[in-house]
């Protein structure tokens, strides 16, 4: 068999590596800033573009898609060529992939601070960027599969399986979750509404963690760990079980992000059951990684790369144990919406993703530049500063989360809330926010030490653009002789792709289809009506400012929450016109689903202009610009038409008279503000936002006379500030209310 000589392309690896480092630093800097904003709200600078609600999506997008994304591509482009003994299929496609991805990041960095967002977590980018992501992802796919097809190694190593599953899963998730109805180039509405939107979003959100932050990194682990340790993976068989069970199980677990919400109960239970099962493959993978170092633990002492890998894999194990625990309803009741979740994801993000990326960079850069690492001491220093950073970051947030979660639920001896003022539970944990920011600072300093070390390494070396390699060509004739049936899968990337897709679709269909097709999963409530034109505009402002980043709209069926938020728990039928859903996932501030009518318009006005003046100690950014900016009315009709097209029952006459209807409602609010000695024009944005806030959760209160009363569920004396007593349940069944 003739031996062929060919060259590995290192230039594309270098490009993605550079981008990893640059965007890592940028993403961490933004993270540090927003961490500090929670402790020192003045750092929102009173500017709309730098407020927490707009920068938080920038941070998550920068870290997930720019830092981790580029690190994935760096590792894939390096390992794929070598595992397949082939140069990448096309240099041009590689370059289109690289520059396209960076342009998408640039677009995100511009649009997110400007408030252009779909409002869906980790999928905030607007529809033109979504299309660009799809195209670039296809380019990446063609380049990857093209390389696989022209390979010189018959068998696909397990790392490549992980890459293939990543590619198909992300394509599926991105397309399904990004179904949007465009209103303008920078504005769209999710095609799904309420419960269905929530289910699709968290099917996406959970599996973005699974297939963007986990499976590709596991692929990298299965390549770079054996490389760095210079020994094969502990058990190749286990890695196969790890792969197939992860692909099969992960997709089902999304509903654990929606426990105790209005999602149908069966879907919640399904999510929990699969989350528990996920411990097995995740820990199988962790053990496989750690045991690869059996007999080589002494080398961990000297080799910083291995140190980073060991902590990364341990963090993977901790996060994947914690995840299933958090999906237990009793744990979730306390942890959900608190900083516990933030700590959890950062153990994964800082520990698993960050440390894997650092380890790979320390391993790759000296090899690409044909030299030794400039300073092992500095790399070790980075390791320790980073590890300390993770601990200082996570521990205070665990404490903050548990403290706040318990404070929300604490009753006094006479059955009232011990801490009826939400703010009390915030000021209690502000010191923890300060410590967390310190942890983040440590982590960032560590990363800067790495940058210095890598720059010095690069300076002393010479970059190897084209790496010479030799391998015999693949002989197809011999391939099928005596092949076992399992090799049928292993040798054929397309079969692998299809089988992965089938496994992903099984869970997807079982979860999504019944919620879409069966009416009893989302019971309708006759008194729930679409938003008025002004309220719809206000809702868009709520979305633009990222209010949903810190405020939930989901009163869970706990007595403590019904008391605190002055009303009933949230029902599925209340969200049928919510494109997109705005349930949120974190309560840095209180829930707003029953905020309508709770305070006067003037209270909202003053609170939005300067939160601290109304609520001393509040950490909410000021939204004074809302009282300065004129409400953009140019899209009102288009927005209503879009909603109508999606099935929201707006009449043609309402749409025709939208401007007048909007103006009339705005004038009413302006008049009420004037009574409270607030002079403003009815054309300001703040009027629309107040209209929306005052509408929230009020429809259900317009129900006819009670059919079923729930005397035991709501204490006789509700909070003094509650304007109306809790309305009767919309559904005839008596729900189980937990404490």
């Amino acid at each position: 068999m003739a031996v062929e000589t060919f060259y590995y392309d290192n230039k594309i690896v270098r490009k993605f590596g550079m981008a990893t480092v640059i965007f890592g630093i940028v993403g961490m800097l933004v993270g540090l800033l927003i961490a500090l904003q929670l402790a020192f709200p003045a750092l929102n600078f009173g500017i709309e573009y730098t407020s927490f609600g707009r920068l938080r999506p920038l941070h998550t997008n920068a870290i997930i898609f720019a830092f981790v994304g580029n690190s994935i591509f760096m590792g894939v482009y390096y390992s794929l060529q070598r595992l397949l003994k082939a140069r990448m299929f096309s240099d041009l496609l590689g370059n289109i992939h690289f520059w396209g991805w960076q342009l998408i990041i640039l677009a995100a960095a511009i649009t997110l601070p400007l408030g252009m967002t779909t409002g869906k977590e980790y999928a905030e980018l607007e529809w033109p960027i979504d299309i660009a992501i799809t195209l670039i992802w296809v380019v990446f796919g063609i380049n990857m599969f093209g390389t696989i097809l022209k390979r010189r190694e018959r068998h696909l190593y397990v790392a490549i399986w992980f890459y293939i599953a990543t590619w198909i899963a992300i394509a599926l998730l991105h397309i399904v979750n990004s179904m949007e109805y465009p209103v303008s180039m920078t504005k769209s509405y999710s095609m799904y509404a309420g419960v269905q939107d929530a289910l699709v979003q968290w099917w996406y959100g959970h599996n973005a963690v699974a297939f963007f932050l986990t499976t590709p990194i596991l692929g990298l682990m299965y390549y770079f760990l054996p490389k760095a340790a210079n020994r094969p993976v502990y058990s190749y068989r286990l890695s196969i079980v790890h792969f197939w069970s992860l692909v099969f199980l992960y997709i089902w677990a999304g509903p654990h992000h929606l426990l105790y919400t209005s999602l149908p109960d069966w879907a919640q239970s399904l999510g929990v059951a699969f989350s528990i099962m996920l411990i097995a493959p995740s820990w199988g993978g962790m053990i496989n990684g750690l045991l690869t170092l059996r007999g080589a633990w002494d080398r961990v002492r000297e080799e910083p790369v291995l140190k980073f890998f060991v902590v990364a894999i341990t963090a993977y194990g901790m996060a994947t144990f914690e995840g299933p625990m958090l999906s237990l309803k009793s744990v979730n009741a306390i942890a959900h919406f608190t900083d516990w979740i933030v700590a959890h994801v950062h153990v994964g993000g800082l520990g698993w993703n960050g440390f894997m990326a650092f380890g790979i960079l320390y391993w790759l850069v000296p090899r690409l530049w044909q030299t030794k690492l400039y300073s092992t001491k500095l790399a070790n220093a980075h390791f320790w500063i980073g590890t300390m950073g993770i601990v200082i970051y996570a521990v205070p947030l665990y404490i903050a989360g548990i403290v706040q979660g318990l404070m929300w639920k604490q009753f006094d001896s006479s059955g009232f809330l011990e801490h009826p003022n939400f703010l009390e539970t915030v000021t209690q944990i502000v010191p923890m926010y300060m410590l967390r920011a310190l942890g983040g600072l440590f982590y960032l300093i560590g990363a800067l030490v790495m940058v210095w070390n890598l720059v010095m390494t690069i300076k002393q070396g010479t970059f190897l653009k084209e790496e010479k390699a030799e391998a015999p060509a693949l002989d197809d004739g011999e391939a099928e002789k005596g092949a076992y049936w399992h090799r049928w899968i292993e040798r054929k990337p397309i079969q692998m792709l299809i089988l992965s897709l089938v496994l992903l679709l099984v869970g997807t269909f079982i979860e999504l289809v019944p919620t879409f097709l069966i009416k009893e999963n989302v019971p309708t409530i006759s008194s729930v009506k679409p938003y008025t034109p002004l309220e719809l505009q206000g809702r868009d402002l709520y979305q633009r400012e990222g209010c949903n980043v810190c405020h939930t709209q989901m009163v869970r069926p706990f007595r403590s929450e019904e008391l605190r938020y002055g009303g009933e728990y949230s029902k599925a039928g209340e969200f049928v016109y919510d494109h997109p859903f705005m349930w949120g996932s974190k309560r840095t501030g209180p829930d707003l689903h029953r905020v309508g009518g709770r305070w006067g318009d003037d209270w909202h006005y003053r609170h939005l202009i300067e939160p601290q003046a109304v609520s001393p100690g509040s950490i909410m950014p000021a939204y004074a610009h809302l009282a300065e900016h004129e409400l953009d009315l140019s899209l009102t009709t288009k927005k209503l038409q879009a909603m109508q097209a999606m099935g929201v029952p707006y009449t043609d006459s309402l749409i025709a008279n939208a401007a007048a209807v909007l103006n009339a409602q705005a004038k009413e609010i302006q008049a009420r503000l004037e009574v409270a000695h607030i002079r403003t024009s009815e054309t300001k944005e703040i009027i629309a936002l107040i209209a929306y806030l005052q509408r929230l959760g009020t429809d259900i209160k317009a129900q006819p006379a009670p059919v079923v009363t729930l005397p035991d569920l709501v204490a006789p004396a509700i909070l003094p500030s509650t304007p109306t007593p809790a309305a009767p349940s919309a559904t005839p069944s008596i729900p189980q209310v937990n404490q």
Binding site: L83, H155, A193, Q196, P226, P232, I518, V522, G647
Partner: protein, 69 residues
């Protein structure tokens, strides 16, 4: 919700779904276990050595030797 319609009030015979799910699971993992256990040792060792720059020959049952440290 024009794009998202509810076609049924409820599903008849929903009870069978959990049973089907259990069976899918059981057989999936049974097949996976079978698949893994049936792999030839030489092949497993050959695959495991993929990331390492060794001269690999599956037919000779060449197992990569961990370097002595």
């Amino acid at each position: 919700m024009r794009y998202v319609k509810h076609f049924f009030e409820n599903i008849a015979g929903i009870e069978i779904y959990p049973m089907i799910s259990l069976l899918i699971f059981f057989f999936f993992f049974l097949a996976l276990g079978f698949y893994v256990l049936k792999m030839r040792k030489a092949h497993v060792q050959y695959m495991a050595a993929s990331p390492l720059d060794l001269d690999r020959h599956e037919e000779e049952q060449h197992a990569p030797q961990a370097p002595q440290s």
